[in-house]
């Protein structure tokens, strides 16, 4: 998979007018970059439990793509004059990674797809798309382009997961619910309007959430868009909407 951004392209300071909001974009980019690195690690781990060579190749290609996304976000940081850090051991990301790795330990290929492609990618697609709409210039274009690519990942998994659900829908849905409780609870805590459980360990200084309105974003909008995308993805899988709505309504706020 081609990275969406050519890293050889000019990194000359695109616009010094970003300077005022650069600390905000730095933290937004840091969250995105960390998420991409976690995804890359997840796909690499997934490749190790795949049975078929085609699946192995797919997983490795995805891992490479996610690394490309992380590099693209780092490049966007340099473009606006900030160093984008990442922290895959930050508390929420670590929990998300651990949930995925439990599926790996169980050699649960379907569980892995549900966590990565349905839950984490829903979050990525929706939040990147929102950032893409408001971020200026190249930064916005990069987020929008990566959002589109991530949507492709969801579509890729959908066919496999629909086939699996057709075999035993109640069992499949129970598995989604079990993973939802673990993964979506963590994501929901990440997405609360204010960080109630201390520093997320990704933002550079203080929590970026209160500053988001300065770049025409709000924590509520990022949360709402992410959960909407998640519900729509579960709809496409065929889970009953009244059930998934109850699940989402029970998430922490």
């Amino acid at each position: 998979m081609e990275p969406v951004i050519n890293l050889e392209s000019s990194l000359s300071a695109e616009c010094t007018s970003h300077a005022l909001n650069a600390p905000i974009w730095r933290d937004v980019l840091a969250q995105a970059m960390t998420g991409e690195l976690v995804a890359a690690m997840n796909y690499t781990a997934l490749s190790e439990i795949c049975d078929h060579p085609a699946e192995v190749a797919d997983a490795l290609e995805h891992a490479e793509g996610e690394q490309g996304h992380a590099a693209a976000f780092a490049a966007e940081g340099r473009r606006i004059g900030v160093n984008v850090a990442n922290n895959i051991d930050a508390k929420y990301w670590k929990r998300l990674r651990e949930a995925f790795m439990r599926c790996i330990a169980d050699r649960d290929f379907i569980g892995c797809l549900i966590v990565q492609e349905i839950m984490l990618e829903s979050f990525a697609v929706a939040s990147y798309a929102r950032v893409g709409k408001v971020a200026p210039g190249s930064l916005g274009k990069t987020f929008a382009a990566i959002a589109e690519e991530e949507e492709g990942h969801v579509e890729h998994a959908m066919a496999i997961l629909k086939t699996e659900r057709a075999l035993d829908a109640p069992r499949f849905d129970d598995k989604v619910h079990r993973l939802h409780l673990e993964v979506m609870t963590t994501l929901a805590e990440m997405l609360t309007k204010e960080c109630k459980h201390g520093h997320c360990e990704v933002c550079h200084d203080n929590c970026v959430k209160p500053s988001l309105p300065e770049v025409n974003l709000t924590p509520a909008e990022l949360r709402g868009a992410s959960l909407q995308q998640y519900l729509k993805t579960l709809d496409m899988l065929g889970l009953p909407g009244e059930v998934t709505l109850a699940w989402v309504s029970q998430l922490p706020v």
């Binding site: 309007k193 868009a225 519900l231 009244e242 709505l245 109850a246 706020v253």
Partner: protein
Amino acid sequence: MGESIASVVARERTNGADFALIGHQETWRAAADVLAVLRGPAYPPLPDEEIKDILPWIPPRAVCHVDLGSIAGAKARGLYIDSFIPPDRLEPAYMRENLARVRGAAAYAIKVGAKIVSLGGFSSILIEGNFDQLPERHDTTFTTGNTLTVALIVQGINKMCALEGRNLRKSTVLIVGATGDVGSGCARCLAPAVSRVLLTARNVERLRKLAAELEADGARVELATGCQPFSEGADIVICAASLASPSLLLGRIAPDAIVCDAGYPKNLSSSAEMPGAKIFFGGLGQVNGGMTFTPDFHGILNRHPFPDVVQGCLLEGMALALEGRFEPFSQGRGFITPERVEEMGTIAARHGICLAPLYNSDGPVEEKTSC
């Protein structure tokens, strides 16, 4: 959550849905109550500001299952689908967004295989002139439900006249919002039965057309597009469109006029401006053959002082499902005739769906009765 996933999935697979009801919540309080039921008793209610942040992002979807019984023994199974139109976005400024939400709800109904879909409240108003905006459908039929709404309004007027000892034949009826689907249906039903009909609406061309139609059948008709007075005050008023203020009726109605608030949302109440008016909420019916919600949304989706009361527009699809007639009984605008109203009223009554006990914002106007 009231049901296990397995039971919900099994229910969907084995039965599909005879009918679907598309609606939304009118107030933030109602929306909060819906979310509280969905969250279940183990979770504290969401703070109001969180509800206002969350609700606009919820895609249209089923909220609960509805099991319906008929006094004739028939049964039907359906879904209530909420379009999640935020209660503070009912104004025309949000028309495009709200249409998209209703389309989304319609697509959901089609996806779950509902045989007939009724459009409730604002959804019905949005779609009555925009049926072509609904998604392409295969085995799913849509009805605005306006014919049964008209039937229940007319029944309510007759009942209120009886309660108040009024002679309908000697009455002058004012219809506000007369060119809409419900307003014009009421005009066609009542014009032959009253002394004079006063019509008011914004579109003068449609008003003239309706007036000509009624006059051709022998009715005495006056029309007005604005607040100008008619030659005489009305004894009976049907507000088929929501009024911004009761003051818009001043000078046009008798002090003790019977006023049927059939608009959406219902917002008329006895006030200093019309203290003697006999106001009731019109277009509401009651299910007498049994109705259960899973999870239990009784009193939340139907917030009325009497049990099992539902808007007529929603009841139409339910009645047709009980009858096994999965057809677009009400579509478009201006096609409701007295014959169709009578037919729909008969179908509904056969299954125990009849006029709800009359009430207004102050409470019941009469003791509970059954059909």
